[in-house]
Structures are given as C-alpha cells and as structure tokens.
C-alpha cells in the first residue's frame, strides 16, 4: 500500500477510533451540568454548554459510538445481503426476478414511515429496531445494484466453466463471482454507510431509538437547535462529526477498491 493510499484511509480510521473510545476519554460526565445552559466556550467546557449546561465536548465524544457502530453494522448487513442475493439472482435467473420484483415493491415504502412502523410495532427494540428497519429499507436499493453488477460476471467464461465443472451454487457465488465485484461492493458499502448514518440519525432526531439523557449526535442536534445563536457549537460540532464520518468512510472505501490489475484487460 502506498503512502497516498494510507493518507486517504487515515481520516476514517482516526474518526472511527475516536468515536469508539470517546466515552472513556470524555473529560466530564455526560449527564451533569458543568456550566450555564448554552454557555459560550471557556476553559471549563471547550465547546461550551448545551441546553442544560452539560459539556458539549464530552457529549460529542460519548455520543458517536452507538451511531458509528449501528451504521457500520447496517452497512455491512445491507451490502452483504445484497451481494449474496444479487449474485444468486445472477446465477439463477428465476430467483433473480423474484428478488428484483420484491425489491421494487419494498422501495415504494418511504424510509421515515418504515422506521416509524418498525419502532412503533417493536417499542422495546430501541437501537435494534432502528437497525432492523435500516437493513430492511436499505437492501432493496443495494440488491438492484449488486444484481446488475453480478450479471455480466455470472456470464463470464470462468463462471460457466466452474458451473459446468460441477461447482455448487454457494461456491459460484462466494468464490467465483463476489471476489470480482470487490470494487463495486466497496463503493456500495460506502454509499450504504452514508445512507445508514442518515437513517440512524433521522431516527435519533425523531427520538425513536436513543432516548435522553443519552448522548447521541443526532439527539444533540435536535435538543440544542433552540440555542443555535447562543452557542452554535452545540449544534455545529455534532453535525460536522456526522458529515466528516460519512465523507471519510467513503474516501477510505474508494481507496481500498482495486483500481487495476486482476481483471481481463480490455481497455480498447
């Protein structure tokens, strides 16, 4: 790996690890006031106070872990399910048609409505209800993309040779097709991560999922929007964190995707 590639992956790694260890390195408790409500930044609270005078920096450090972990989990589940379903659909056209028609129907469901449906019918689900909803809502989009990328690969000579040579469906999907979709799947992962952050944050903003007084970036934006003019950092900092997270993970995914080589060379 080149230095350039390492530089492109570093922001994502830094941000993710900061979000993961954040709760332990937060300077103040996240649920006790240390300053005045919406106090401007000072020595006690570097990013000022929130609506109840709690330390914004501490809440920022503590509030990313659940969002990041949920979004990563959603992105992995969505991409993995879509990749396998798409590849199976490419090898077995009948299954493929079934999957695509089902996806078409599910896509008609608006995301916010879907989240509300799942979380209201499973009130104790908390974060898991949000994750389940995000996976169900994300797979239809991803599976269409994965299926269209897998179709030409499934028609390639080596997949036919493997099928004619007696390989089972699972081997065709996992060993012959998916490795050649790495670039597409990594790009898809990046996209689904952003979509997952968006969905999980929306759920947080709607107060389904994490409940106050828990620290959560999306919840912080909602709670503190009334004091935007008094201490803008209470809203801007979590917003920036969500935006940077989405950007840096996509940058890393694009860097990790293989650019050249290991593919049939037909440029002209």
């Amino acid at each position: 790996m080149t230095i350039k590639a390492a530089l492109r992956i570093t922001p994502a790694l830094l941000l993710l690890s900061l979000a993961l260890v954040g709760p332990w390195i937060a300077p103040n408790a996240v649920d006790t006031p240390v300053t005045a409500p919406f106090a401007e930044p000072d020595a006690a609270a570097v990013l000022g106070g929130d609506q109840l005078g709690r330390d914004v920096l501490s809440r920022l450090l503590a509030g990313g872990r659940d969002l990041v972990l949920s979004s990563l989990l959603v992105a992995v589940l969505v991409t993995g399910t879509a990749a396998v379903l798409g590849a199976i659909g490419a090898v077995r056209p009948l299954v493929g048609r079934l999957v695509e028609r089902t996806a078409d129907v599910l896509m008609l469901l608006p995301a916010v409505l879907g989240i509300l449906l799942v979380t209201l019918s499973w009130p104790d689900g908390g974060r898991f209800a949000v994750i389940a909803a995000a996976v169900v809502l994300g797979v239809p989009y991803a599976v269409r993309l994965a299926a269209s990328a897998a179709t030409p690969v499934a028609e390639a000579g080596y997949v036919e040779a493997a099928a004619a040579g007696g390989e089972r469906l699972w081997y065709l999907v996992v060993r012959e097709i998916l490795p050649n979709l790495r670039a597409t799947l990594l790009a898809l992962f990046g996209l689904r991560f952003v979509a997952a952050v968006y969905l999980v944050a929306t759920a947080g903003f709607l107060q389904v999922g994490p409940q106050p007084p828990a620290a959560d970036w999306a919840l912080m934006i909602r709670e503190n929007s009334s004091g935007l003019l008094l201490n803008p950092w209470a809203v801007v900092a979590p917003s920036l964190a969500i935006g940077l997270l989405a950007l840096s993970v996509n940058l890393a995914a694009a860097t990790l995707a293989p650019q050249t080589g290991r593919k049939a060379v037909t440029v002209l």
């Binding site: 000579g157 040779a161 493997a162 004619a164 050649n180 050249t260 049939a264």
Partner: protein, 510 residues
C-alpha cells in the same frame, strides 16, 4: 472487391517512404523485473502489411497495444521509442492520444467480441464510429468484411453472432473510421480457412489500394507467408512444451464399453424463436477422436455448449456413456459434470481474474478428489508442465498471462478433472504451431493411454484431418454430412463440405 476506391481520401502529397509506424528497441518491464518485451523493433510503411509472429507469450499483443500508447497495467517502458505517424505516442497528452486513436489509428483486439457493446445492434455498432454514416456505407462496410447483409444480420446484437462474425463486425468498425494505421491482434484466429484467406486478402487490398499501414499478429504460418510483406519475429523463447506422461489413478478406467461415450440425438436449440440447431445427431465412440467442422456461425459452439449443459435444448436427448443427461446444468450430477469437460474458444474470459493459476488448476483436483490435498501443488505443476508452462506460472494471475498461455491454463484445468470426454473448441487457434502441436500430442496421448474421448471443433482442417477419425459437418444448424474423416475429406458429398474444403487440398489421405 466491393470496395469503392474513393471512400478514402487520397493521401495528401506523397508521404513516400516515411514509415507510418516505427518502434525502436522497445523494452517493457513488469514491476518485478520480468521483460514482457525486450528490444523489439518494428517498422510499418503505408501500403505494406507486416506480420508479427512468435511463440505465445513473446509480447505480440504488448507490442501492438504499445502502438496505441497503452501498456499493461503496472508495467513500464524501460527503453525504446514508439513513433506512430510521426508522433511519439508516449510523449502525447491523453487528449492527443485519444484523437490519434479515434481518427488515424485503429486497433482490433484478440477478443473483439468483448469490445462490442452487447446492447447495440450491428448496424449502430458500425455506424457509431463511421466517417460516413449513411446506410449504404454501413452495408458496403459489412460486405467488405464478408458479412453480406441478408436484411437481418445488421439488426442483430453481438450476443446473436458467432465468434467469427463478431470478429468481422469489429473489423468493420475499425475500417469505418478510415484509419491510416490498422493494427490487428490475431485477426484470423478462429475463422475457417477460406474466410481466413479472405480476411488476409482484404488486409492486403486495404494496404495496397488505400495506402494503409497494416500490422497484425498471427500464428498461422501459411497466412503469414502468403499475405505479409514483412515478418517481424518476436521471441523470448518460452519453456519448451514437455508432454510428460500423464498420471492417472489406474482404477479410474474400466475396459472400454461397447456403448458410445457420447450420444446426441435429434437435438433442437432455439434462441428466442430463431432455430440455431435443427435435429443434430452426434455419436462418439469411447476413446475416439471426432471433429466438428463448419463455416463460422453454423452452430458448432452452440452444439457443444448444449452438450455440456450451458445451453438448454428445446428437444432431443444427450447420453453420456449410456446414461441420459438433463438439458441444462441443474439436473446433472457432479460426476456427470466431471466426465464432460469443455475448453472454450475464448481464453481471455475463461479464467477467474481474482485467482492464481494454481488455484484455478487445483480446484478440479480438490472438487473431484482426484488426489490427496498434500499433493495438489505437485500435480498442478505437473499439469502445467504438460501444457508447456513453467512452474513459475502457478503463482501468476490471469492478467499477467498472454492469450495463448491462458488457453493452456484452461486446458490444464479441464485435464485436472480427468474427463471421459474432452471437448475442445478451437483450442489451438490462440497457440503458435509448435505449442499447438505439443498440446494436440498430449491430448492424443491421453486418448490412447487412458481411453479419453476427444471432440475437436476447429477451422484448421489439416488439424482435423490429422487428429480425428470421424468428422461431422454442420451448416446453418444442421448436420449435412458425417462419416470417417478420410472419406469426408477426400470425397465430400455435400456442397457445404466442398466449399469448406475449398482451397484446402486434401493432401490428407492418411
């Protein structure tokens, strides 16, 4: 020739002796220090046809692609210069290079079918790049590459064309731009001899009449000898093919049965309502070598794809060693699939780009439990050696191999399964004569020692005459003649057979 002379602008002024292409001492090296090309030189003058020959892996494709300013990914030019039409292609900007490739330089690759957009019809494919976009010009171009438009061909998509037809559509596309320099990688591979000569004749005609500089790589010595003005021989000598005795578990083979190894009865195949095969019969005795010949587009490839289960038939039966095979792959057992192996026509797509040669060749050994897992590495090296590849190839990826080397890996993979019936679709067309002969000797040896049955599809009629005992002639999806090879080739009864034999003098009276 239906070629209208004024389609090409006359060259302004006499460029006279200035070469259109001049390559001097070009060396291309991979990051790990291997030379793909070593001090290669090439000069092509307008109006002349230059042939590039050399064993597979000698760098023919690399040299031709270097003329378009492209090198294989990860490799670098370490020495030498490439001048095309007075410009150093490696000094040009991306934009200038694109203009050069778009207007004055045409390249037709080894696998031209993959360069054709599968969604476009032949008509649009040719018109897309044409300098003259009228319908007559498209018809004239198709006629020029011997694809006379019967009213339907121009409306087809690449998927409905045979390999030979795709190749000619790609050539028509290249000519549509009216280039000054025409580069072709194996333009005659996989075509039947008559067509091969016509294409070669066409190249010479284009060079003479329109002052094109033509360079092509070719394995076929007769084409090179008859049609090339100059010959450039590339050669880093490859490891010599070394057909070692093929080891096989002795118990695997019982005495040859009296019933036929492969029996196809009344097979019908249609593509979206268009009949491709009509009532085809094929019987192959155990241990026999059978040839299937026919003009390009006659359904040879469809027949063998149906036999191995990659294409479903609409009616008809296929029996392997007496047991019926289902149409399509789903109803076939693993043992049935192992017993019937196909080596396909196009070596470029036949190997998984994400896996090394050793993985690819070793997989059938694991899957069909052909040998203990500890010995797989050794067996793979043995198989590679049999097809003339050094053991170092085991750790390479397909994109590091030339077309001929990939073809040999595909053959090794098919042999690893120890098939009862091996079907070879134009396996030698991507190989140089020496390697081709060594591979055919290997297959013949396996047939004699272990009773492997061989089905050969080839346009190379002398190969079919030498290597097969009986032959089936296909035309437009029907069997028009079949019988012993000697009888069919010396006394053809059907017009299509006579047309195929054409210039091939039946010196083959073995």
């Amino acid at each position: 020739m239906s070629h209208t002379r004024d389609r090409y602008a006359k060259p302004e002024g006499p460029p006279g002796d200035a070469p259109a292409v001049r390559v001097t001492d070009l060396t291309v090296t991979t990051p790990d220090g291997r030379h793909l090309l070593r001090e290669a030189s090439l000069t092509v003058h307008p109006g002349r046809v230059v042939a590039l020959t050399g064993p597979s892996g000698a760098g023919k494709t690399t040299l031709l692609r270097a003329l378009t300013g492209l090198l294989p990914a990860g490799t670098a030019r370490t020495a030498g210069q490439v001048d095309v039409l007075g410009q150093d292609v490696f000094a040009l900007t991306e934009r200038e290079l694109r203009t050069l490739r778009g207007t004055r330089l045409a390249y037709v690759g080894q696998d031209p079918g993959s360069g054709l957009n599968p969604r476009m019809r032949v008509r649009s494919l040719v018109r897309e790049l044409a300098a003259d976009r009228s319908a007559e010009a498209v018809t004239a171009l198709l006629a020029e590459v011997r694809l006379p438009d019967d009213g339907r061909l121009a409306a087809r998509r690449p998927g409905a064309l045979s390999g030979g037809q795709q190749r000619r559509v790609a050539l028509a596309r290249a000519l549509a731009r009216r280039p000054d320099v025409l580069l072709l990688d194996e333009p005659t591979a996989g075509l039947h001899p008559e067509l091969r000569e016509e294409i070669a004749e066409l190249l010479r005609h284009l060079a003479r009449e329109h002052h094109l500089a033509v360079a092509f790589s070719c394995h076929d010595p007769t084409v090179v000898e008859r049609f090339a003005d100059d010959v450039v021989e590339l050669g880093t000598p490859p490891p010599p093919p070394h057909p070692a005795p093929f080891t096989r578990t002795p118990a695997a083979r019982s005495a040859p049965q009296s019933r036929s190894a492969l029996d196809v009865r009344n097979l019908h195949v249609t593509f979206r309502g268009t009949p491709v095969l009509t009532g085809v019969d094929l019987t192959v005795a155990p241990g026999a070598a059978v040839g299937i010949v026919g003009a390009s587009g006659s359904g040879k490839t469809t027949l063998v794809r149906t036999v191995v289960g990659l294409q479903r038939s609409t009616s008809g039966t296929i029996h392997l060693a007496g047991s019926p095979l289902s149409t399509g792959l789903l109803g076939r057992t693993r043992e049935q699939r192992r017993g019937l192996q196909l080596v396909t026509q196009n070596p470029l797509g036949a190997l998984n780009p994400s896996r090394t040669v050793a993985d690819t060749v070793g997989r059938p050994l694991r899957l069909h439990r052909r040998c203990p897992s500890g010995e797989i590495r050794e067996r793979v090296a043995g198989l590679l050696e049999q097809v003339g590849l050094a053991p170092v190839f085991a750790d390479r990826y397909p994109h590091e191999l030339s077309g001929g080397q990939r073809q040999r890996v595909a053959i090794a993979r098919a042999l690893a399964a120890e098939p009862d019936v091996l079907i070879c679709d134009e396996v030698t067309s991507a190989l140089d004569p020496d390697t081709g002969r060594a591979v055919m000797d290997l297959l013949a040896g396996l047939r004699e020692r272990h009773g492997m049955t061989l089905v050969l599809i080839s346009h190379d009629l002398s190969l079919v005459a030498d290597r097969t005992s009986s032959v089936t002639v296909l035309e437009a999806g029907r069997v028009v003649e079949s019988g012993s090879t000697v009888d069919v080739f010396t006394a053809p009864r059907h017009g299509a057979t006579r047309a195929l034999l054409g210039r091939y003098a039946p010196a083959a009276g073995p």
